[in-house]
Symmetry: C2
Subunit: 223 residues, 2 copies
């Protein structure tokens, strides 16, 4: 059975996709090239798709820079050294991003006769994004049932969020158990010109906290 | 107050946008260039945006041909001479199209601090698309409240569907009352090489029925 996996090239989506594979799904990976600053993430997604032996990998350009409104899609500076435990929604929030991503995944799912979509959202060690919460995901499933031909014909689309209740350390431990190589992933919102992570954005800070709490070294920072 | 209006270049979205204007909104028009066969519709959208004196017109390319699954986004033939009164969902259904369009409109609305989105869907003289029904629209509003920063902060996004309960003739009469020039619009799914409507696709048939029932001539077919 096919599943659409949203694959960004980051640690979370790699783990979520690997879990889908372990659960027996044939993977169709969707990477939305949304004009994010960290285009190297898209290259990482390509490598991960190959490693996970996906059936298809669709890279879809959707220029969210034209919409703007986020430090990831405009020239606003990416915040550094923020308190990642804060509940404030940061400047890296991309307006309606997961709604847009899930909508595209839904369209592709319908075409491929897939009923399962995997997304690596996480409501614990996360940046406070509203579209990572369980109630948002459930609302999207309701919408999918109403807004598609398949839904009208009785199909139920399921949005799987295997990471939603895990800490970042829990995600990393789960991935390492599955044999994942996190050296392939890139999480940084604002990598240096040489491609190395900045170490100071939310994403770097949460990743570092995760590896620290999981008691392992981040392979990306080795060598 | 700003409203995002989804503007395709067809008759319905022109009318919906004009109603938004009459209601006092400042219009920000979003045209999704989704790889539809009828690219001339996009040129029509440009003209209509100018005529309606919109504040902004964003043309956003999102290549739904990469996803496929529809006669409008693949090489499947556009059905001709179909019974447009049929309740069957036709081949021109684009998987999750309105979910994708509304998601993009939502992102832009959040950036522009708009809370109102206008979409020219119609549940009466329509082609049986599931994502044109009131229950779908209400579900999207619920999703918008949950999946955005503004929603979390208490904003309520409203998706206006001023045409949803009108017949095609009713839409045309309303538009003519507003002084709209339907000669600027293009509805055909499969225009001839010279840009003239085919006259046989669902969209042409519904349009012809609408003008006939409204008792007026279609200016597009004159001269």
């Amino acid at each position: 059975m096919r599943a659409i996996v949203l694959l960004s090239g980051g640690l979370d989506s790699y783990t979520a996709a690997a879990i889908a594979k372990v659960e027996g799904f044939t993977l169709c990976a969707l990477t939305v090239q949304y004009g994010q600053r960290h285009v190297r993430e898209v290259e990482a997604a390509r490598t991960i798709a190959r490693v996970l032996d996906v059936e298809r990998h669709l890279e879809l350009p959707v220029d969210l820079r034209a919409i703007g409104g986020s430090a990831l899609t405009s020239d606003t500076a990416v915040p550094r050294d923020r308190d990642v435990g804060s509940t404030e929604i940061p400047q890296t929030y991309v307006p309606a991003r997961n709604t847009i991503f899930l909508a595209l995944a839904l369209g592709w799912a319908e075409v491929l006769v897939a009923r399962d979509i995997f997304i690596g959202v996480n409501a614990l060690d996360y940046s406070g994004y509203p579209d990572c919460r369980p109630e948002f995901i459930r609302a999207f499933e309701s919408l999918a049932a109403l807004g598609t031909r398949a839904g009208v014909e009785g199909a139920r689309f399921r949005v799987h969020t295997p990471l939603i209740a895990l800490s970042k350390a829990g995600i990393i431990s789960r991935g390492l158990d599955l044999g994942l190589d996190y050296g392939l992933t890139l999480s940084c919102y604002d990598p240096r010109p040489n491609g190395r992570p900045c170490g100071r954005c939310d994403s770097c800070l949460l990743r570092a906290k995760g590896f620290r709490e999981a008691g392992v070294a981040d392979p990306l920072l080795l060598g």
